[in-house]
């Protein structure tokens, strides 16, 4: 019995010692297993915004409204019929077609308007221009130099750097304006992802548009009419591979000031409620630096909100030879903008 117990004890001991070192090897076949887990999609947001800012036409007016003076009657009076401060093009070179470009200021070329691409993608912009005939319209010229033997009117629509002659049938100008994807970001709004314009986005690409006119210096019938210009815009996301126009310009959002050597002052892009609080010019005359306030200056004609003003000849003649003259406009909110003109 004792021996048997010893034997069992030895066997158990050996088993315990050896069993601890056994390594169980699986049979040499592939094992299988599986695990599972669920995944969710974070969602999709369309990363594209298509938005064009286009110029409007005042009610009762027409795009690029103009006055046509074939007989040069306005220049013939040396402007005597007009209020002091009314500015016309210089007699030499005056083409007889006038666009109102600032308060009491007329020029042979309209103000420059802009089509601004505030999209994340390139946009192909199409400008269709055609005329609506009056009862007895003057003949439209086919080139920028109207006939000298018969009364003709030339109107040229300039889009970017390209000018198209306006005709009675529709003329189409197409430009691809680059988008500004870096002006956009993905944000979360009301629990959802949105692709939106950044709050500090200010610079975009734009295409300049203006109209130039010229009319033959010829006597005309008193019932002669001038054609009305109609402009229709259209745009679409640019096709893949379309090349952006190189004559687009930068558009910077916010107020801007323009000042010309004809004495025209223009303040534009004001925010709602923003006003002009002061306007001054700085110039050097006979070696002496001068600064003059203009809002209350009797030789400057202003519109009601001081966003458009014209210096009369007392100023423009006085500034001749002063070189670069700097105009400073202060807006409410302590915003200052400057522009320069060379006299």
């Amino acid at each position: 019995m004792q021996k048997m117990k010893k034997g069992i004890a030895v066997a158990l001991t050996a088993t315990m010692a050896l069993g601890g070192t056994f390594t169980a090897y699986a049979a040499d076949t592939a094992t299988t297993g599986s695990t599972s887990g669920s995944g969710t999609s974070e969602g999709h947001v369309e990363q594209e915004v298509l938005n064009m800012v286009l110029p409007t036409v005042d009610s009762g007016s027409t795009p690029f409204a103009y006055i046509m003076d074939p007989e040069r009657l306005i220049q013939g009076t040396d402007g005597n019929k007009y209020a002091e401060g009314t500015v016309f093009p210089a007699k030499d070179g005056d083409t007889g077609v006038y666009f109102l470009t600032a308060a009491n200021t007329y020029a042979n070329t309209s103000n420059t308007l802009q089509a601004i691409n505030k999209s994340s993608c390139d946009v192909t912009l199409t400008v269709d221009v055609e005329t609506t005939a009056g009862t007895k319209d003057i003949t439209l010229a086919t080139s920028s130099t109207p006939s000298e033997t018969a009364a003709e009117l030339y109107l040229g629509l300039k889009v970017g750097n390209d000018t198209t002659t306006v005709k009675s049938d529709k003329q189409t100008v197409t430009k691809t304006v680059a988008g500004s994807p870096t002006n956009f970001e993905i944000a979360v709004k009301n629990g959802a992802y949105v692709y939106q314009e950044k709050a500090d986005a200010t610079t975009w690409k734009a295409m300049n548009i203006s109209m130039t006119g010229a009319v033959s210096k010829k006597e005309i019938a008193s019932d002669t009419t001038a054609p009305t210009v109609n402009v229709t815009w259209s745009y679409a996301k640019a096709a893949d591979g379309a090349t952006a126009a190189t004559d687009a310009v930068d558009y910077v959002a916010g107020p801007s000031v323009a000042f010309t050597s004809a004495g025209a002052i223009t303040v534009s892009g004001l925010a709602s409620g923003q006003t002009v609080t002061s306007v001054s010019i700085a110039y050097t005359k006979d070696g002496s630096q001068q600064t003059e306030e203009l809002i209350n200056n009797p030789n400057v004609t202003w519109n009601a909100d001081k966003t458009s003003g014209t210096m009369n000849s007392n100023w423009t003649d006085y500034l001749q030879g002063c070189g670069s003259v700097t105009l400073t406009v202060t807006l409410s909110g302590n915003v200052t903008k400057t522009a320069s003109a060379t006299f």
Partner: protein
């Protein structure tokens, strides 16, 4: 006495008749005035023609030029789909939309015309305040299957829905069946 009373009664009746007739006429006049006022609201000024200076009108033109107010050009930020698809001519489009983004300065409405017939709108929208959008659009005029060049004329309006300025934008409508 009774004859006098009778005469007085007739006079009163006559007077009452005149009052009623006057009242009726007054009501009609007021109604006509209201109707004229309502129809005149929102009507656009006829666009001015470009001016031709002649010996006959130089004085008038000079006066106009001196008194012409200069208004800074206005702008409108367009946000719209530029191709609208309709399953049928009387269906609601699933991809047509027009938004008046918050950055714009005015409420708007728009009229849609076929490019070759701008006398008859095929869609007249309600007024869209700033920050609003119109979708689920159906045309007012049923079109046959085809692709149409169209013009949308935006009207920027004041508080009384009078048009302040306009903008013409071309786009495409496709009717599938």
């Amino acid at each position: 006495m009774s004859k006098k009373a009778g005469e007085q009664g007739m006079a009163t009746e006559e007077k009452n008749k005149k009052i009623v007739i006057f009242g009726a006429v007054l009501i009609v006049v007021i109604l006509v005035a209201i109707i004229i006022f309502l129809f005149s609201r929102g009507r656009e000024d006829e666009p001015k023609r470009n001016v031709v200076v002649t010996k006959d009108n130089i004085e008038e033109v000079a006066d106009d030029m001196m008194n012409q107010d200069y208004i800074e050009p206005g702008y409108y930020s367009t946000s719209m789909s530029t191709t609208w698809h309709f399953a049928t001519g009387d269906a609601i489009s699933e991809d047509a939309y027009v938004a008046n983004v918050e950055e714009n300065t005015n409420d708007i409405y728009f009229d849609v015309f076929l490019a070759d017939d701008e006398n008859k709108p095929i869609l007249k929208s309600p007024v869209l305040p700033r920050g609003s959008e119109l979708n689920n659009i159906a045309l007012d005029v049923q079109l046959s299957a085809g692709t149409y060049d169209c013009v949308m004329v935006y009207h920027l309006v004041d508080e009384e829905q009078n048009t302040i300025s306009t903008l013409r934008v071309g786009f495409t409508i496709i009717v599938e069946k």
